[in-house]
Amino acid sequence: MAEDSLTLTKLREKFAGHIVETHSFRGDDTASIQPAAIVPVATFLKVDPELDYNYLMDLTAVDCLRLGKPYRFEVVYHFFSLAKKHRVRVKLPVEARNPEVNSISSLWAGADWYEREVWDMFGIKFRGHPNLKRILMYEEFEGHPLRKDYPIRKRQPLIGPGSPSQPQPK
C-alpha cells in the first residue's frame, strides 16, 4: 500500500526492526510494533520536533480471544499532536501468558489511570507503573471483567444475595 504519511515513514526508518506492520486507511495511520519497543517509539513520537505528539488521547486494549489472531491482546495507543494536528494509532500485540508491557506513564502522566484501567479490565500488567492497582472495580473483585473468557453471568457482589456473607440460594 502506498504510504506517504510523515509519521509512518519516520517510524519505519527509525524502528525498522520493531515494526510488525503499518497501514494508513483513509488517512488514519496505524503502526503495529513489538511490545518491547513501546517506550522508545513513544519517546520518539513525543520528542521528535516534526512529529511532536504531545497528547495521549487514549490508551486501551482489545481482547482478541475469538478473533483468530496469533496473539491474545492488543494494547492500543492513540497519540495526537496539538500543534501539528495529526494523529497516529500504535498497537502492541501481547501474548496470553503473563501479559505485560512497559509503562509510558513517565512520558505522559495521563497514562497512569489509563494503564490502571487496562490492568483492571483486561489484566495486562504495566512494567514500571508507579501504582498499578484497580481503578474501577473494587479490590475484592476477582478476575478481569472485559476479558472475553470472563463468564458473562458471573457476579461478585460485596453485600446482598450472592456476596460472601450471604451465599446465593440455589
Partner: protein, 152 residues
C-alpha cells in the same frame, strides 16, 4: 367542621398526616436520573407542593431516601451505610428502572435492583421516569405513610 372551633381525629391519623406532608429527602443521586429528579424538584413541577421540597444532605436528618440512578456493586455498601444512618421512621424510593431492577445493565458491575440490599417502599420505573411519574410515586408513598401504623 371548623366553624365549631374544634377538629376531631385519631392521633395516629394526625401523625400520619403530619409525616406525609413533611418529608425531608436525602437524594442519593448517582446517574442520569438525577437530571429528571432535578426537573421534578424544581419550580416547573415543584415537588414542594407535596411537602417534600427540603433535601437534607445528611442521612441523619432525612425521612426519605431517594435512590436516583444506577447502583453498582462497589457503591452498594455505601448505599447500605447511608440507609443505616437514617433515623426511624424512614422510607426508600427507587427512582428509575436501574434502581428497581438493574435496568438494561445486566452485567458484572450493576446491582440488580436495590431491594437486594435495602427495603424499598415505592418503585418508580422509567428510563428516566417523567416528572409526573415521580410525583405519582411520591403520592403513593404519602398514601402508604398515611395508612401505615405510626410509631412514635
Amino acid at each position: 367542621m371548623f366553624s365549631q372551633g374544634f377538629v376531631t381525629s385519631r392521633l395516629e391519623k394526625a401523625i400520619g398526616w403530619a409525616r406525609k406532608y413533611s418529608l425531608f429527602q436525602y437524594p442519593f443521586v448517582t446517574a442520569c436520573c438525577g437530571m429528571e429528579y432535578m426537573a421534578a424538584a424544581a419550580s416547573h413541577y415543584d415537588i414542594d407542593r407535596f411537602g417534600a421540597g427540603f433535601p437534607r444532605f445528611s442521612p441523619r436528618q432525612a425521612d426519605v431516601l431517594w435512590v436516583v440512578g444506577t447502583i453498582n456493586h462497589k457503591m452498594a455498601p455505601v448505599l447500605k451505610m447511608v440507609y443505616d444512618q437514617m433515623c426511624e421512621p424512614k422510607w426508600v424510593i427507587a427512582f428509575g428502572v436501574c434502581t428497581c431492577t438493574g435496568g438494561f445493565y445486566d452485567n458484572y458491575a450493576t446491582v440488580q435492583g436495590i431491594d437486594t440490599i435495602i427495603p424499598v417502599d415505592v418503585y418508580i420505573p422509567g428510563c428516566p421516569p417523567r416528572p409526573e411519574t415521580v410525583l405519582d410515586g411520591l403520592m403513593k408513598l404519602q398514601e402508604k405513610i398515611q395508612h401505615s401504623r405510626q410509631e412514635f
